[in-house]
């Protein structure tokens, strides 16, 4: 029993060491990071849109972390923005940095595609705006009505992507998701970027 216990205690101690380096120390350092002045907390609608982003697993195809030009120049050249800094994620709980780019990075999608109607049409059927897109359609976030009621947000769907009859209107969920996507705009400067890279990133625009 003694030897079995020794193995288990030894194993636990090693894990504790790892927790110190990979959990505790980053936590201490990151929680003292400066919050960018122009970063705003999410509104209620944006936060609910963010919850939909989580519920429907957008993170499995879209990252939210443009890489440092010193590491990979392509991200900023594609117009995905300056490298992100820890402070950019202050209000993100949970984080949605992602590990996959089946689709493009969305850290600045709100700046790249600021049109509500483009976003809604793209969600309704991505192939209506991007030829050959393999993004799923989110038609379940829309309703088809005969005559839109007062205050309904009508989405004009070009042929042949629309329903056979009726008008497509966005549900509240679709509008909230869109408001979150438009909130993904981190084009403000980040003071905590290392100086040399900051000037380089600014020179390249968003």
């Amino acid at each position: 029993m003694k030897r079995a216990l020794a193995i288990m205690v030894g194993a636990a101690l090693i894990l504790l060491l790892a927790m110190l380096t990979l959990v505790a120390m980053p936590y201490v350092q990151l929680s003292s990071e400066a919050v960018p002045e122009q970063l705003e907390p999410y509104t209620t609608a944006q936060q609910r849109g963010r919850d939909l982003y989580i519920a429907n697993g957008c993170v499995y195809c879209h990252s939210q972390q443009p890489r440092d030009p010193g590491f990979s120049n392509a991200d900023s050249e594609r117009g995905w923005g300056r490298p992100s800094v820890p402070g950019d994620y202050t209000f993100d709980q949970p984080h949605l940095m992602g590990t996959m780019r089946t689709g493009p990075d969305l850290f600045n999608i709100g700046a790249r595609q600021p049109s509500v109607d483009w976003q809604l049409l793209h969600l309704y059927n991505p192939r209506a705006v991007v030829e050959d897109s393999i993004m799923p359609a989110y038609r379940f976030l829309f309703r088809v009505v005969d005559t839109p009621a007062e205050g309904d947000h009508v989405v004009k769907i070009p042929d042949p992507y629309g329903p056979e009859s009726g008008t497509v209107v966005a549900t509240r969920e679709a509008l909230e998701l869109t408001s979150y996507l438009l909130a993904l705009d981190h084009t403000y400067p980040a003071s905590t970027l290392p100086q040399a890279e900051a000037s380089q990133a600014q020179g390249e625009g968003r």
Binding site: L22, M97, M100, I134
Partner: protein
Amino acid sequence: MTPTIAILLIITFVVSAVGLLLLIWSIATNQFGHGSLAARTIFLEGEEGHSEDPARTVTPETTDDNIDADELRARGQADLSSRRATMAWLGSAVFWLLVGSGYGLLTSAKFHWPELLADSEWLTFGRVRPMHLNAVAYGWASMAGVGTAIFLIPRLFKTALVGGRYALTGAGIWNLGMLLGLVSINLGLSDGEEWLEFPWQVDILFVIGGALCAIPLVLTAANRRVAHLYVTSWYLLAALVWFPILFLLANLPGLFPGASGATVNWWFAHNVLGLWVTPIGVGIAYYMIPKILGRPIISYQLSLIGFWSLALFYSQVGIHHLVGGPVPTWLVTLSIVHSVMMSIPVITVAINHHGTMWGHFGMLRRSPTLRFVWIGALMYTVSSLQGSMEALRSVNVITHFTHYTVGHAHLGMYAFLSMILFGAIYFIMPRLLNWEWPWRPLITLHFWLVSIGILIYVVALSVGGWLQGLSLLDADTPFMDIVRLTLPYLEARTLGGALMTLGHLVFAVHFVAMLTRRGKDRRQPTLFRAGERQHKHSSVEVQQ
């Protein structure tokens, strides 16, 4: 701030280095004792040189081997003592394997048929994908691993399992957690971080279910009748300590916001692989390979170096998932260094597994367990070395954010771990049920379907992912061109996945047939080639 971090960092490096030196010293001076004697603890008196291959419970009356009769009977009883608990975990695992494969195949198909079942929010890509991951990681791999551990523990400690009903209850609670967790994801109630999608309220069930399995483990260890703990028990004991700590910490709600949430997320996610399923898979291979060959592993000391260095290095590799991301550079570097250091435990394990096999590869032709387990062990070597390479910045800049990583994950979780688990189940079931696997051709079919399937899968995604990564680095290539570029490889992946799923169906049918005792009542083990047993036996003895 920075000096503090630097000092802490230096301290941890020094501690790591001192720990490693201490380990090498203690092994060199034989502080662990026993050595080759310890490597033989898995054999009964007079058993060495005899292959133990899946056959219904061997008793003194049914074997002509001159193995100590009392010990043989005791082992038969040890096997049966874990029967109900082992069956509960393994049976559930096979069920979740089917569920997970179905969702996996659907996920894969949706990549190239985006309109497939797209109108239902219950079947949208972003929900079925995490359902696949969680069903196979926590349902199939974890449950089959725990089931095999429960079977091996009494054997390793040469005593009956104590407290098996705790493990049985644990299986019930774990299954409830699986069900509630998958339904939650389907309803859109995911926690939102990869590998941690189950809502934290459901996670409590996994902590309880897992802890209930640790009870019989500790009780049986206290009751053991062996002088030395064989290396497999080291891995299993450690894995069962590590998983609850990791799972509990990573799932604590609201503790880690923003960027530090990302570090905890990936520290956990890689530890599920490194400190949970890897020790289980490696531990099982350390048992099965020598048992079926009838010869001890070639270097017991090396196996202990492998164990402690795995603990030391694997626990700190997680942040290589955030190379180039918004986390401190020192943290990423630390993980890259440890990822590369992982080649030490991997090479020691490789020397032992493959070195023990050396000169006995002919056995792969007849033994299903050995064939599955050894190929799994070989893929452990391959996927681990690949993983070390992938952590390097120069490689990572290409492979990160691409399908290449998904191919690598399946090389590890499937070609390594799942193959070993299949082999273990082929070994265990005849002993628990006192019945032989009914149909030999089904084992052959299962083997070839999953082997060809995973080969297509990994090759397609590795090539496609690499090309995708290169194109992503070239800003002049329009994004949609990259999507079109990957399509043929994604279609090939669906083909590979379909073959694997078909293999799982064959396996599940055979498993159920086994449970219901179909086929003939035979005494001979079900091997790939019948009638070679006696012949092979004598050739093993000649080599001793």
